[in-house]
Amino acid sequence: MSEETAQQLTDTDAAILSWETWDRVKHTERFAIVAAVVFVALWSWLFARAPITSELGGYHSLATTILIWSVFAIGFNLLLGQTGLLSFGHAMFWGGGGYAAALVSLHVYGDPVLMLVVGTTFTLLLAALTGVIALRLHAVYFAIITLAMGQLLYYLATSPLRPITGGRNGLTGIQLEPIFGLVYLGMPLPGIFGTLWVNYEYLLVATVFVLVIAFVNRIRKSPYGLIFRAIRENEQRVSFVGLNVWRYKFAAFLMSGGIVGLGGSLMTIESQFAGLGSLYWITSGEVVIMTVLGGVGTLFGPVLGAVIFLYFEGVVDGFPIVGRYWLLMLATVFTAIVWKYPDGLWGMLKLIASRIRSSVEDNP
């Protein structure tokens, strides 16, 4: 009897020990990066080709697109989730980066890395210009002026700048050159790598995805991460401890715009096309939905939001009969989740995990 009790005690101790290790590990920087690497390594295969999960109807190019939109949502979340600024015009960075990447490939050279660099640099400049104006305003006025700026860019691209942007036809005929002059992105990967990742393009997208996760995670763990959250919570107090709130907001705006522009450039590489839709306000709205659905202010929440959103748009859309109602179904899911779990899907998963854990701990 007493032996049994002792045995139980040690078991409980061991379990508590392992929870503690887990709690420590899951907050380390390396863990987030390793998790991101494992995710992108398996994602395309699980989504499009694995024996059971791929029955859900995923396909490889959608898997790639989801990763790219995730970059968009992660960049957007840096502004909304961390700093508390709701922009309704982030399509201007997504589309702006996309157009800049397309233009450099059409008129200069189509090296994917050059396209990414030019797209991101252009977006940083655009964010600097728009940020100086928009960040003078607060809350709803900030949302409205970013929306107006985004629409301004959309109309500029539609008509006055048609000779450059191609107007309603967009920019087509984008030729991708080999990356660093070495290998074409469309080239298939050999053997097991081909099964997992299909081609070099997926490798490029996955690399950018991991780098963005690592970058944002580092920001979150830097003084900026703390100051951004403090600004979200109580902007006045931040200025009264002696910090220049405006500059920190500007920095957040630049970083967010730059990441989104990087994603937009990737999208041009993926689709070999840049079109007006990428600048349209509905695109700005879609990224808000993804981010809020996945979990505002979390690192991986926006990825989850992008997965669900694009799954509905790309797969549920094709289901017989119910397919045409995909947007209605998505809206229902969105409302239900956000109503029940203000922290989105990521918050929901965390809550479920902690419930399971406490019931495990209570009944060892």
Partner: protein, 252 residues
């Protein structure tokens, strides 16, 4: 030596003159209290000096620098801290993170490009936060979200944030409001220790007259935006104008 001086300081909101040609002087290492009935302009005066409001007229001189028109963060970086009347904290951050925000501001200035450096590498910041939390006796609550603290603890956290900014001159707006008698006593002791041990200069706005007459070196009496008396606690206690205007002729 005079640390802070206002000249002709005036603020009007439309037709209402909230602060009317106020001239005050605060000496280094002095504890000055500002008292006056509700609406006398005490908070407006603090807001003018710390940069939350821009004066309609007049100057604020701090160590020969004119503060009028400067932003709050610039004024704070010059060495003027403040704690707020309501607990102005960051509710969703932990107690430690709340104070860390101020510690970073004190250690590295109003803006620094260090978004690729991890904040757990800043030992001096951690030390500063630990010191501030120890002073207000909140070190055991470091990992608790600020929102879940009782009200008195939130006020102490608010004071710790003000202390971590490392001010030479600290404005405290009713620091003991909403505190229990024990917390009030602790805060009063803290205020005296900051003055004696750290050599800080403190300007206190306070309704509790026991505290005011107990700790102050000098008392300023505001009435309808004007300074009507200025002197040591004894002088103020025996001042006829103060009694009739503010204390309604009562004995204090």
């Amino acid at each position: 030596m005079t640390l802070l001086q206002t000249r002709n300081l005036t603020k009007s909101f439309g037709g209402l003159v909230a602060v009317d040609t106020v001239e005050i002087e605060v000496e280094e290492n002095e504890l000055v209290s500002v008292i006056g009935p509700n609406g006398a302009g005490k908070s407006t005066l603090i807001n003018l000096i710390t940069g939350m409001l821009t004066p309609t007229d007049g100057d604020v001189l701090y160590r020969d620098t004119n503060l009028a028109g400067k932003d709050p963060y610039e004024i704070t970086q010059l060495g003027i801290g403040r704690s707020f009347q309501t607990a102005s904290i960051f509710p969703e951050l932990t107690v430690q993170d709340n104070v860390d925000v101020a510690s970073f501001a004190a250690e590295q200035g109003s803006f620094t490009v260090n978004f690729l450096r991890r904040r757990d590498r800043y030992d001096s910041v951690r030390q500063r936060t630990a010191d501030a939390l120890e002073l207000v006796d909140l070190e055991d609550e470091a990992d608790v979200p600020a929102a879940s603290l009782p009200y008195g603890d939130k006020r102490r956290l608010e004071v710790a944030i003000g202390l971590a900014t490392d001010p030479d001159l600290l404005f405290m707006d009713e620091p003991t409001a909403g505190m229990s008698p024990a917390e009030t006593e602790m805060t009063t002791n803290l205020i005296e220790r900051m003055q004696t041990e750290r050599g800080m200069t403190i300007v206190l706005v306070e309704h509790d007259m026991d505290i005011v007459f107990d700790v102050s070196d000098k008392i300023l009496v505001l009435h309808r935006g004007e300074i009507i008396a200025d002197g040591t606690p004894d002088e103020i206690r025996n001042d006829e104008t103060v009694r009739s205007a503010y204390l309604g002729g009562e004995e204090i």
